[in-house]
Amino acid sequence: MAEALLEVLGLKKYFPASGGLLRKPQWIKAVDGVSFTIQEGTIFGLVGESGCGKTTIAKTILLEEQPTQGTILWRGQNIFKMRGEALEHYRASTQAVFQDPYSSLNPRMRVGSIVAEPLIVNSFSPGRALPERVSEILAEVGLELEAVNLYPHEFSGGQRQRIAVARALASKPEFIILDEPVSALDVSIRAQIMNLLSDLQSLYKLAFLLIAHNLATVRYMSHRVGVMYLGKLVEVAETEELYNNPLNPYTKALMSAALPSHPDVQREEIILSGEVASPLNPPLGCHFHPRCPQSMPICSELEPELLEICPGHLVACHL
């Protein structure tokens, strides 16, 4: 049984919202009590629409944000309490690839330096071994050796994303956060990058946190999927189980709203009314109840807990 690599426990991240001089302080509840576990060597997909908190979770894992409450454990150790060698090791083991290949690479650095940077920062490769390691990784992501001396702007979007992946692999991480890795790329290039990530994952037994809004992409790549809405996890299950048997009304609406792959695809049309509420003032009780086609009186009063309905399948809903 694979070991739990990363455990997010009751994570809350609230941002202060300026209410003006005389107003009561308000809070943007970006992440409001989220817990999930990522096993070694598995891909965990996190889906949700804008404002659901998925990017904030990623930033917290990368130590770019401090939690308001709750904790994150890396192999049982609290990442926010790590110091010295343990912290260095964590940073080297956890890397990220972001959405925009145009802004995530330093335009003034050559590719060779960009890819070498994590190695230098984490004081891994001494002197001579460095260029070797860099060419090794570039080959692995399908880039030519000549790339070392070129600048990011000399590459296309898809190639730049390969550079970002190379940089993420440099320090031999165990875990990579992929935040919308292909949405900014041309459609004909996406499959290349998805296959590359998939291959590298199997080869190095990497764990991924895949954040994406495209349900089909998440289905293709993930082992396990979590659905978020307004700062909360509303459903978590193994990929096939989630896609074949979604239980939460929001998950069902999300799947219904996803674009079909063929004009003849028949789907139950669940069109939600209204807009996504603001994380500044989420509805009382279940955050989704004002838009939920199946809401009951209890939904506006009591927040549903995330409970295991069938083995491995957790849902937060009063139904």
Binding site: S188, N195, L215
Partner: protein, 323 residues
């Protein structure tokens, strides 16, 4: 019956110090009243410039429409004067752009902006205009139009702004709407609401829609017919089901196979190697050759002709030419 819109051999080039970019190079298609035609392709394929050329909104001085005809109700738009085009835009043909934040003016109320097309093109007294605007806002499902008419764009969510843009595009009751990636910036559930609204409005007003997109999912959901573009040229045109069931051009086939599908799980996606060509340096033969698994010698020598596969289905590929 003559089609509402007939584009014939449209050519729009861009002239810069670095050379000539043939953004649109001999594109032909037609669109009927009440029909939705999807113009699909990746970034740089020329689909947006095609839409802009129809509206005569090609960025100048670099861009220039070099040739072809754009027949709207039989009249060639490329021969019209600037003033005549002004009468047509917003009234007979309107546009919905991708980013509602830059297509809405932040310093004018939405009431002013939605009313503008009527204000410019027709003579209506203030009260009648206001009624028309409120009616339009409720049609696009903006709640409480009476109060929101005084609101400014920044006070609305992305989905609502895109609906306001839709209201502006439709208030003049145009015959044709050019929608350029209108849902790209919207969340999945909001996108679904919006597409449904668009189809309802189309049915109600008998609109023709030219839907420009890179997403085959949108094509599957809302289009009746599809035209696929690659590097400035049309490589395939077909009725939507025919395209998905029997794609004829290798690019279309490869693209459809490389997209992950929600309805099925595959072991591995069939990727397309290489990248789209640079428009300033196009090869003499078919532009897809470097990435095509069926390329023959003839493909590199000469650009393939349009081959009629069936009544409504054509594709530009040497494989389809019977010797």
């Amino acid at each position: 019956m003559t089609p509402l819109l007939e584009v014939k051999n449209l050519q729009t080039y861009f002239f810069t110090r670095r050379g000539v970019t043939k953004a649109v190079d001999g594109v032909s298609f037609s669109l009927d009243k009440g029909e939705t035609l999807g113009l699909v392709g990746e970034s740089g394929c020329g689909k947006t410039i095609t839409g802009m050329s129809i509206m005569r909104l090609v960025p100048q001085p670099a861009g220039r429409i070099m040739g072809g005809q754009v027949l709207f109700k039989g009249d060639d738009l490329l021969k019209k004067s600037g003033k005549e085009m002004q009468h047509i835009r917003g009234d007979h043909i309107s546009v919905i752009f991708q980013d509602p934040m830059t297509s809405l003016n932040p310093v004018f109320t939405i009431g002013d902006q939605v009313g503008e097309p009527i204000h410019i093109h027709h003579k209506l007294d203030r009260r009648a205009l206001l009624e028309r605007v409120k009616e339009m806002l409720s049609v696009v499902r903006i709640p409480n139009p009476e109060t929101r008419i005084l609101g400014y764009p920044h006070q609305f969510s992305g989905g609502m702004r895109q609906r306001i843009v839709g209201a502006i595009a439709l208030i003049g009751e145009p015959d044709l709407v050019i929608a350029d990636e209108p849902t790209t910036s919207l969340d999945v559930t909001i996108q679904a609401q919006y597409l449904r609204l668009l189809k309802e409005l189309q049915a109600r007003h008998g609109l023709a829609i030219l839907f420009i997109t890179h997403d085959f999912g949108i094509v599957a959901k809302v289009c009746d017919r599809v035209a696929v573009m690659y590097a400035g040229r049309l490589v395939e045109v077909a009725e939507v089901r025919e395209l998905f069931n029997h794609p004829a051009h290798p690019y279309t086939m490869a693209l459809l196979r490389s997209v992950p599908k929600l309805e099925e799980q595959v072991e591995r996606l069939q990727q397309i190697d290489g990248q789209p060509p640079i428009l300033r340096a196009l090869p003499p033969g078919c532009y897809f050759v470097p990435r095509c698994s069926y390329a023959m010698d003839q493909c590199q020598a000469e650009y393939p002709p349009d081959v009629e596969i069936s009544k409504e289905h054509r594709a530009a590929c040497w494989r389809l030419v019977k010797s």
